[in-house]
């Protein structure tokens, strides 16, 4: 039971980090960024390249190497997110929602195949940086170090984001744009800049999640972004889309539910659990757990 719980929390941390990207973009643009899952994959592959090809692990002690790599990956994926917004979403800011959604799907297919052409269609093995098998005993329960690192890293990143959004001037501007774009513009906020910023923060967190996932499972594939992306989006809906603490809660909750479901129901049906939860949430509480009641009917 506790074993499943820690596993669920570790994976849930990943879902939560990716869900933050969805929920922030949805908050400001009312758009499902389908390519977000593939930016997550891109992060995982870039991390692998940095570790293996650039031999980052050779120069530095493991934890420092991990930290440096995480920061570099976050920067690179943020730039990709910015480019994505410029090319695929900004020209569609004023067109109808279907066009933007289809463009997002197209961008997702493009990114996924670009990664496949560059890295090949097979599973890639992730370098074993933090000796995945090591574990330590806490309160009589043996917890793998990797799970602890993952959980702590994702919570730390979420905390930084939360403080940034709630305590800084730029964070206030992001919230203002999400609440009312027109009014934010009248208050002198450069809306384009804020949207670009959101498209950098979200993917940066998603990229970091990709690296953590690669380290955790030890292998990655070019099309893993689709499933993780969908589940993270579901996590965002569970928490209440557009709501930042909601995405964190939804991610952790979904991770735990999945781990428990895989253990006690059937591992085959693991992937179906998220979608069942989604349908139930949309029927009974469409605004999500933490979402406020909105006039707009879902």
């Amino acid at each position: 039971m506790l074993e499943q719980l820690t596993n669920g929390l570790a994976i849930g941390g990943i879902y939560a980090l990716v869900a933050l990207g969805y929920t922030m973009v949805y908050g400001v643009l009312k758009l499902i960024n389908f390519a977000h899952g593939d930016l997550f994959t891109l992060g995982a592959y870039l991390g692998m390249t940095l570790l293996v090809s650039f031999g980052l692990a050779g120069y530095l002690p493991p934890l420092a190497a991990l930290l440096v790599m995480l920061l570099m990956v976050m920067g690179l994926v943020a730039v990709s997110g910015y480019l994505l917004e410029r090319v695929a979403y900004r020209p569609l800011r004023r067109s109808d929602r279907l066009a933007a959604v289809v463009s997002a799907l197209g961008a997702s297919i493009f990114l996924q195949n670009a990664i496949m052409l560059f890295y090949g269609p097979n599973y890639e093995t992730y370098p074993d940086l933090l000796s995945v098998t090591a574990s330590l005993t806490l309160f009589g329960v043996s917890i793998p170090v990797m799970r602890l690192v993952m959980f702590l890293a994702s919570v730390l990143l979420m905390l930084v984001l939360y403080l940034f959004i709630n305590r800084t001037r730029t964070g206030t501007a992001i919230r203002a744009v999400a609440a009312d774009q027109g009014a934010a513009r009248l208050m002198g906020i450069d809306v384009n800049r804020i949207i670009a910023l959101v498209f950098m923060i979200g993917p940066a967190l998603g990229g970091a999640a990709g690296v953590l996932l690669g380290l955790y499972y030890g292998n990655i594939s070019f099309n893993m972004g689709t499933m993780y992306g969908l589940k993270a989006f579901i996590a965002a809906i569970i928490g209440g889309i557009g709501n930042i603490p909601g995405a964190m809660l939804g991610g952790l909750l979904l991770g735990v539910l999945e781990a428990l479901g895989a253990a006690y129901i059937s591992p085959v049906w693991k992937d179906a659990i998220a979608f069942l939860v989604l349908i139930l949430i949309l029927i009974f509480r469409p605004t999500g757990l933490l979402g406020e009641r909105v006039a707009e009917k879902i």
């Binding site: 279907l98 289809v102 799907l105 197209g106 195949n113 969908l230 989006f233 998220a274 349908i279 029927i283």
Partner: protein, 394 residues
Amino acid sequence: MIRRAAHQLRRYRARSVLGPERYVFLAEWRNPPRSGPSGLGLSVGLSLALVTMLLTLPSVLGLYWTDLVNDMMIYAVLALSLNVILGHCGLFHMGHAAFYAVGAYTTAILATRFDVPILLTLPLAGALAGLFALLVARPIIHLRGDYLLVVTIGIVEIVNIALKSNIFGLTGGANGLLILNPISIFGHEIVSPVDFYYFILLILAVTILLFYLAQNSRFGRALNYIKQDELAAESTGVNTAHYKLAAFVLGAVWAGMLGTVFAAKIETVSPGSFSYAQSVLLFAIVILGGPGSITGVLLGAFLIISLPEIFRDLQNYRMLVFGAAMVAMMIFRPQGLMPPGRRRYKVGQFLGRFPAGAALRRNKQLEGADPTALTDPADLPSLADLANGEGKGR
């Protein structure tokens, strides 16, 4: 802001000068009354040539290309069935492969376990797929745009997982089922690609005819109205939930029957043929071809299924180009390659029914104008125009 306001004021003034009949004048000015029959625009000779060409196509193409054309036609019919939901009704439905799967598996299970003749399973496959659609769509039919999209992706994923896990011990797991008995019509077995060509061509022709009639029926107009403005449709008495559900069921029934054809043609059904990726492909055919337009969807199926085959050497890059093309299309031509033409009605057809219209018609007759001139409803003011231009102007 100021420029916009000035523009609206000018527009308002232009209208008020023209007086109450301005809309008909404007409409005539923009669309002069057309003469001659409007329709598909095919002359008798041209259609005869087209039919002859279609009937002789397999002998020209050879087996390999005939088989490709068969695939293309199957996708075309599937995309046409999705078009009812996505194109006409504007519901973001990305789970069409699930309905298709229900049909194909119905046929496969009945044919392998109970030795039912394949052709007999066709209506059953359609009915079961329709019932399935009714059951799953009922609780989610009220969902808005992208929420519906994610839930329908969820449905296709759940169906896929269920098939893979050999649900009820019937679906054969990840390997699927092998069908050995062919379709037989009056003792003639349909086996070769050429046989299938004529069989699928017949289905395609029937589909096009029925969907053409449906899109111009009361049902089709209701779906279009929902797509344009759901709130307005509901407030004028269109039962939106009912029509949306009907669109889902019609699309699913058609996809289910195509599942039978697919199962008979490919001889094996396995979960891989009904994945999320297949749904995306169908979605893309409708969106890129022209949602709501039958010719557009046919063109989309032709381009998306056959172009990659023609450029086989570039196979690795085809999905890359496909993704980039989707983005580019949405930026430069979001309405699709061949969007549907505007609906046109004769003004006189409706004028007499409403008091204001009758008055307008009398005036027009006094002036000697033709009251039955063609006009385009899109040129008449919309509610939004009235609210912006007129309401605020006063």
